[in-house]
């Protein structure tokens, strides 16, 4: 076995896993609030990429300004969706949330389509260079994805564990009634959670866009995988989302290299079936409600 090619696949797996994990993290946090998987999350990923494309491509701003702008704008869209749609459905059956989420997904996608059209768009990489070490290739943008994702995960962990606001989100995810009883403001926590999930999706999209293409349907692929990841990791679990993202990322990269691109999805989903049949509750089940 060729070592440098093996290391190459580890890097590829880390890149993909990082993007998946960031998207899945937002999804899993919102699951704690909505108790349904938020289908419109994939559209937030798309929205983030287009906002950055607009700021960088049309306004000519710096990539990092685009990244921050996209995170803020997408957080705002997510908060709006909470206020205008999901908070109004709080007492309805979960099916209503689910239908609303799908509606929102189609709506945001259609808006992107109406403004920017069906053309593929491209966000130029801020650092187009490539690092080469002993036969292993790592474009700087891919290194940025990995570093950015790890940095955000650590920050999110510290926020959830070490701050009062973070603890209220965790408390809400564990038990909504209990959290209200001890005086946690439901509306405030919901808004913060949606904002974080939107920002994470946008950052993932803007980090990933320079090595990929921007199109109205770009979120669909990623969100499908994020669903699998949060089921794999345990619905509502933060470490589960990260580990699940990495498992799917590595399964795809090693599967595509050592077996075949044709079969890599089969490998990833066979892994899902295997893990779920051994641990139906996921890798890190949320504490009992």
């Amino acid at each position: 076995m060729n070592l440098s090619l093996f290391v190459q696949q580890i890097l590829n797996g880390l890149t993909l896993g990082s993007v998946y994990a960031l998207v899945a993290l937002g999804l899993t946090l919102v699951y704690g609030i909505l108790h349904i998987p938020n289908f419109s999350h994939g559209a937030l990923f798309t929205a983030g990429a287009y906002v950055a494309f607009f700021i960088v491509g049309s306004l000519g701003a710096n990539y990092w300004v685009g990244l921050i702008g996209a995170a803020l704008a997408t957080a705002a869209i997510a908060m709006l969706s909470e206020r205008l749609v999901f908070s109004r459905l709080r007492d309805s059956p979960p099916l209503h949330d689910m239908i609303a989420a799908i509606g929102l997904l189609l709506f945001i996608e259609a808006v992107a389509h109406a403004i920017w059209g069906a053309d593929f768009r491209r966000l130029a990489p801020p650092y187009p260079g490539i690092m080469r070490v002993a036969g292993t290739v790592l474009p700087i943008q891919r290194a940025l994805i990995i570093a950015g994702a790890i940095g955000l995960m650590v920050a999110l962990h510290l926020f959830l564990r070490r701050t009062v606001t973070g603890s209220t989100i965790v408390a809400m995810a564990q038990n909504r009634e209990g959290a209200s009883l001890v005086g946690i403001d439901l509306t405030r926590v919901s808004l913060i959670t949606f904002a974080i999930s939107g920002a994470l999706a946008a950052i993932a999209a803007v980090l990933f866009a320079p090595i990929n293409l921007i199109s109205p349907g770009m979120g669909n692929l990623v969100i499908l995988k994020a669903f699998v990841i949060i089921i794999l990791g345990g619905m509502g679990s933060v470490p589960g989302a990260i580990l699940g993202g990495m498992i799917i990322g590595f399964a795809e990269s090693f599967g595509a290299f050592y077996i075949s691109t044709d079969l890599k999805d089969i490998i990833a989903f066979a892994l899902l079936v295997a893990i779920l049949s051994l641990r139906p509750q996921g890798l890190f089940p949320a504490p009992a409600r």
Binding site: R122, N212, V222, T261
Partner: protein
Amino acid sequence: MMITRRRVSTGLAAAAMFGALSGTALAQETVTIGWTGPLSGGAALYGKNTLSGLELAAKEINDAGGFEVGGKKYKVEVVALDDKYSPSEAAVNAKRLRSQYKAPIVFCPHSGGNFAMQAFNEQDGFIVGAYTSVPQMTERGNKLTLRIPPSFAGYIDPFIKIEMGGFGKKLGMAGADHDYAKAWAALIAPAWKAAGGTVVAENPMSYNKDTDFYSGVSRVIAASPDVMFIGGASEPTALVAKQARELGFQGGFIVMDQAKLDEMAAVLGNDMSLLEGAIGTLPLIHDSRPGAKSFVPKYRKAYNRDPGTEASLNYTTLNAVTEAMKLAGTVSDATAIHAKLSEAFGKLSPERNPSNINSVDPKGGSNAVLVVGLVKGGKVVPVDAATGTISN
């Protein structure tokens, strides 16, 4: 039940027709040209490109006052319905275009939709305007089919000759897993071997499912090929080529005709040098034949971007269809119109015929000529498809 339903729809259609006729007794009459193809989803851009050629032709015909058949002036209206690239929806759309709009021809830019329409177009009486280069399209004996682009089989020999001669005998297959790409792969791999080469890797990309191509591309590169076969929509294909270069590949590319070299370069920041040694279909903007030369500025003016061959071929075809209607003396009898298509293509002036089609064979295949381009010294140079010689 079926009979009743059909009667009702005929009745409705007749009522609608009568309404249209009585309402616009003095106005010109209109012929509807049907189009079904992807207007949403991943292939939406491709769909719009094919449609734009028809719309530009229709606009020009109407601006010139329409066309005359049997003493009456007609205008052309293109009615486009979205089928999301799905054969079953294309079939439903075609039924609707025929029964509701009385379209004598329905254009469709994907092989699946065209095959689906071939199941009933003779019975329903409309021509399938097949924008697909799959060779089987005209091999099924359908009497009302027009295959617009040339069959892609003609690309195989010049592509192999130039790439094998220029880079070496080892081919890495990194095409794609959709039907069209599979049909290509099934022709190119055996032909490469027959020419004395070896296929060292086979790892098609999945453009509908992959978020990233790095691992798949590195698997092909690991087999150290001299030439890579790639292809799909232009933009993701460009990413595959770029990633191959990043991973150290220095050989040539055989680019499946679905991808266009100029559109690929646009994704790579207009840097043709990354595609050095790539052979593919010649981008229309590099085509120096007179019809193409006059079409490019017209299209740029109307749409503010460069046209591809999907626009020019459809543009030529709609011009020929209206010409065939004139020759046949009917705007509704599909069989009579189809019979005059070959003559109609031959009569078109170069300005109306940027694709240089001048006849249609008895099976319904146009004689559009393959045009091949090679990236050499950072520029696209035309290649003679028949002899495989590079012009300088």
